[in-house]
Amino acid sequence: MFIGKKVIAKILYIPLFMLLLYGCDQHPGKKVPDEAESTLDVHTVSVWAHAGQAAERRVLQSQVERFNRESVNTQVKLTFIPERDYNAQVQAAAVAGDLPDLLEFDGPYLYNYVWQNKLVALEALLPQSVRDDLLPSIVDQGTYNQHLYSVGVFDSGLGLYARKSALQEIRARIPSGADDAWNLHEFNEILKKLALRDDDKAVLDLKLNYTGEWFTYGFSPVLQSAGADLINRDTYQTSTGVLNSEAADSAMRQLQQWMQQGLVDPNLDDAAFVAGRVALSWSGHWEYAHYRNAWQDDVIILPLPDFGKGSRTGQGSWSWGITRKSSDRSAAAGFIRFLLRTDEVLAMTNANGAVPGTRSAVEQSRFYGAKGELRLFADQLLQGVSVPRPKTPAYPVITTSFQQAFQEIRNGVTVKQALDKAATRIDQDIKDNQGYPFISR
């Protein structure tokens, strides 16, 4: 009996050591070996995408299927990564040298990865004709240090959704474009009048229920509209004097006032506009489908109010980049070219309501074409009303600092204090990184 137990103990040790041996045998990232038929020379392209809205995911999935059917010797293997942890995951993988061949980057997070030297320039991999068809904002977003590192299939639109009927009831002027957007005085009047007719006085939805990047994307245009900014864009070395300037202070104080006066709906169920509790919703292209579903033709899109120096809005969205680690870059580029075909661009943007990333697609889009309901978004991008978020590897710190400042402002902290703190933090980080010098290899 006891011999048996002793043997059992020894036996149990064996698997332990085997585990260790097995572990030493592992190769990073190759846990499931891909069956590459050497005779057919099939290239497998590993792709990561963010798990966004259901419609977006479905379209991307079907695009992958179509591509795989069509192209015999390149097969795409797609992995979805939850959106909330997306950047953290990519960062961990980048450090571990475990990135896929092709993956998405959320707007300005791209530049930090370029700085880390993880991406390859795309000029050689995409023909000139394809690049010429891209919207200038897309090219702008993907270019850093004179090279194109990423390409977006779509760009974003940010504006003020409104119910026309509610505005007509209070006899408000309805702007026709960014040029004649409401100024602050007008906007405050409109808010006041709407509040008089509203039960809970909350008439504006700022998507306060969102977390993360939304706050920088949605509200840094306010800074720019007031003449301030997130960082000094001449040198990209300091935020002090720009983020905590007088103009920034007064702009954010205006936002704080709206929140403290009870004019803003907390929007916990994300349905303030859809349920009719508010007449105005400060939001992006992704809401168009829901809003239209709820209110049909009563939904109109207006430019954001002018905080002094003209209405400004945001731009930038997910874009695709190819990693240095990729063993077959032209195969990966082949998938990008597929996604940029007009049909494919429209398939995606019809599903998620975003602005198509190529001129040909914009023309053919029923939403963004000349008479489209969402034409404002496209115009804002084409006419330079939209401002890209700062193109610097310091972006992650800039955005977390601004997000924090926004939360503090929302909770009643003195605006100047919050902005000062954010600016100091950004400056410190840039200094710590020696100004993010571009280290060429």
Partner: protein
Amino acid sequence: MPRDLKRQDCLNAWFFMLPALLGLLFFVLLPFVLAVGLSFTNLRMGSPLPTEFVGITQYQRILTDTAFLHGLLNNTIFALIVVPVQTILALLLALLINQPLRGMVVFRTLFFMPVVFPLSLVAVVWVLLYAPGPQGTLNSLLEFITAGAWQPRDFLHDGAWALPAISLTSIWQGVGFQMVILLAALQSIPEELYDAAKVDGANKRQQLVFITLPQLRNALIFVVLVTTILAFRLFDQVQIMTQGGPRNSTTTVIYEAVRAAFASQQVARGAAMTVVFFTIVLLLTLLQRFLIKHEKAIE
């Protein structure tokens, strides 16, 4: 003969210890030593810049950082709320369940159920319970109990209520664990002690104070220490429910450390924070070992 036996004992002991020692060395001690070392540098994850030695800069920065200091304060307040409340509640429940009544096992089971939930799931459910406005569960419950006198609050976004809200969540999840331990300790108190006391004329309250509590001393100390250490490790609920809370009112040491290391990629800064954390908890543990009787291993 005895010397051979001792040598045999020694060899065997090393074999017994070996896998555990290797594991602890490689996966706990080594990373911790690395973390300490890193705290004196400026390492950032993913940076192409070379890492430099910066002495105590990280420590200087975190000890003057309002968020970190607030985190330390919050951990302390949290421990001061949760440890007594949870322990007293657990003791109370244990005393009640210890009564010789039918069906007490059912209660014991029900109170223990929350312990089985992963903290992250607990946090998610309680986010909904704390929903602001009159539809929120807790708000409507309080409104019902106070017959309408209660004003609905946004617990998780209110500077005064956020930390207590998180405390309640932890208490809910942890009280069953403590209760079971105290219950077992209660049940192992010899009856004779109580009989003797009754003969001496002691009433229920005197029995409680002079017999029950002293007998529970070890179990109580154990429970208090474990809960205190866990209180300083508070992270999951903060990350899911408040992300540091309105104006840092719910941030904690570990939350700041994780945020520094992963959100801002400032690995060295995060490392410094965890070293400070370790020092504090080590001191607390040493304190406990003074209070408890020392068990003696064979000499």
